[in-house]
Symmetry: C2
Subunit: 317 residues, 2 copies
């Protein structure tokens, strides 16, 4: 009998370390050709779009998709999980929290393989819903001593700094400019909806690792083209999807400052087929669009744990 | 609050005329650019595949998808329907019956615009689950006096003939060969899983209309290449999808006996932008792969009726 797992259920089951473990395992499986991923596609609805993206991971026993509508009225996310041996539907899962966790965890996996081993200071540009898991994931893979946050609204960045200081076990301070936030940081996270660059080449320094995780639309970009060109290693979650969603890489490629031949895929980095960092002076960039395999990998763990703990409602007609 | 609508609920709400009405309206909307459709995509699972296909129809207030796994263990179909103004999930609907009805109705719409007005004899090759709605839909758009059925297993074709004679109000007789079934028929329906042609050029006669509705895999074909070449008008439900799924057209195109430039799309036929039949002597062919817009259009009507009649369970965590 299939389960319906609500956001409240997911909240009781999921944490960032679980998402990190799921993603690291999923990317390794993908590199071995054991997992399939179909890029996000969109159709217009009133004032927004309907989105659908799918993945399969037969060795884990699952195939499924995430679908959502996002518009001025808000967003509604769902994962549908099928049994990969053909036995039918396993679960319908409300997937806002899963999305938040997997986006954080994707940056966490990238940070693990791309940031300097001694990275200890993080800068977060953006203080919304998705920013929390970005910082949590970075802290799970590096020993952070301090973090800074910048976002345009003073109230928001102060609230984020206060909340995350209480949660993280190190100080998180708000800054009044992006420049001040990034200066001296080892790990820089952009997690904004900005259509204009929030991270520019003058803010970069040797040894930095950047997670650009805010945008998945070619209409937006968080880095300027010079910053992209300055990075020595560029990793994406999925090359096919990045080519149609990653505004900063698309612009940089179009203007001749970046070549898609340089883009590495995160799964290949995770298994060591390619290096995420070649030297301590490299500036490394992870461009996260968010792929279905991440959602399915986290949903699979949530589902198994729900079964184990008897959480969730039975889906019946 | 979103609804869960089971197969049993769908059975109590849906009939072939409702599906025909939904599809005719949906194809007309598509021709006007008011509906979007994303072709089916597949990922492998154990002994089969997981399938996903999506559509939106903002003027009707819906966007959504059909997903299913099909393997040696059987198949499980679901439609997820979202509100197209962004208000969230409307329903999860078990969609085996919806699929059966919409595939029949697609052939019905094609028959309405492509068969001779005086067509009165139907031949059905195949007697499985999907064959019933094929015949019902043809009978809904033409005044049939008689139908014949052929399938390889005598027991199956006899059972189909008996069941459909009781249902249709005209005689349905079983034949022992496909040739005998098709001879003298005005409307020929192929609804098989055959990988080898069941309808060959020698069986065709001027004035026939053919619905090739059984296959949606390039590995299979129901018509031989000479039969495809003999048809003067070829209509598909979706050109993009037919180019990767329609085994007979793909083979005919590859061998130079068919050009994709000749393929017309059903939506354009429905609104009269192109003719489905130019003369009484034309042999016309509708190649049905099955598209998401058909599922979403039928699901929308099922959902509205479920709300009106208080059918379906509330989907809660």
């Amino acid at each position: 009998m299939a389960l319906y797992i609500s956001e409240k259920d997911v909240a009781s089951l999921l944490d960032i370390r679980m998402a990190l473990g799921a993603l690291e395992e999923a990317f390794a499986a993908r590199a071995r050709g054991e997992a399939g991923n179909l890029p996000r596609r969109r159709l217009p609805i009133g004032g927004g779009a309907y989105h659908i993206m799918a993945a399969s991971w037969p060795a884990k026993g699952v195939a499924g998709h995430k679908s959502y509508t996002a518009s001025r009225k808000g967003a509604a996310f769902h994962v549908m999980l099928y049994d990969a041996s053909g036995a039918g539907l396993l679960a319908v899962i409300e997937a806002n929290r899963i999305g938040q966790a997997r986006t954080g965890a994707a940056s966490g996996v990238a940070t693990k393989y791309m940031a300097r081993p001694d990275a200890s200071v993080a800068a977060v540009i953006g203080s919304g819903y998705q920013a929390e898991t970005q910082l949590e994931a970075a802290a799970a893979v590096r020993t952070l001593k301090h973090a800074r946050v910048f976002s345009r609204t003073g109230e928001h960045r102060e609230a984020f700094a206060k909340k995350m200081t209480a949660r993280m076990g190190f100080s998180v301070t708000a800054t009044t400019t992006a420049q001040e936030c990034v200066k001296g940081a080892d790990i820089v996270i952009t997690i904004t909806n900005s259509s204009e660059p929030v991270l520019t080449v003058d803010m970069l320094a040797p040894g930095m690792h950047i997670n650009a995780a805010g945008s998945n639309s070619w209409l937006r970009r968080e880095l300027d083209t010079a910053a992209v060109a300055r990075c020595s290693i560029v990793v994406v979650d999925d090359i096919e999807q990045a080519k149609v969603e990653c505004g900063e890489l698309m612009r940089a490629a179009e203007s001749g400052h970046f070549s898609w031949d340089r883009a590495l895929q995160l799964d290949k980095v995770v298994v060591g087929q390619v290096k995420g960092r070649a030297s301590n002076d490299d500036i490394t960039l992870f461009e996260s669009q968010g792929i279905a395999l991440e959602d399915i990998a986290v949903a699979e763990r949530v589902y198994r744990l729900a079964i184990e703990r008897g959480v969730g409602a039975t889906l019946t007609g």
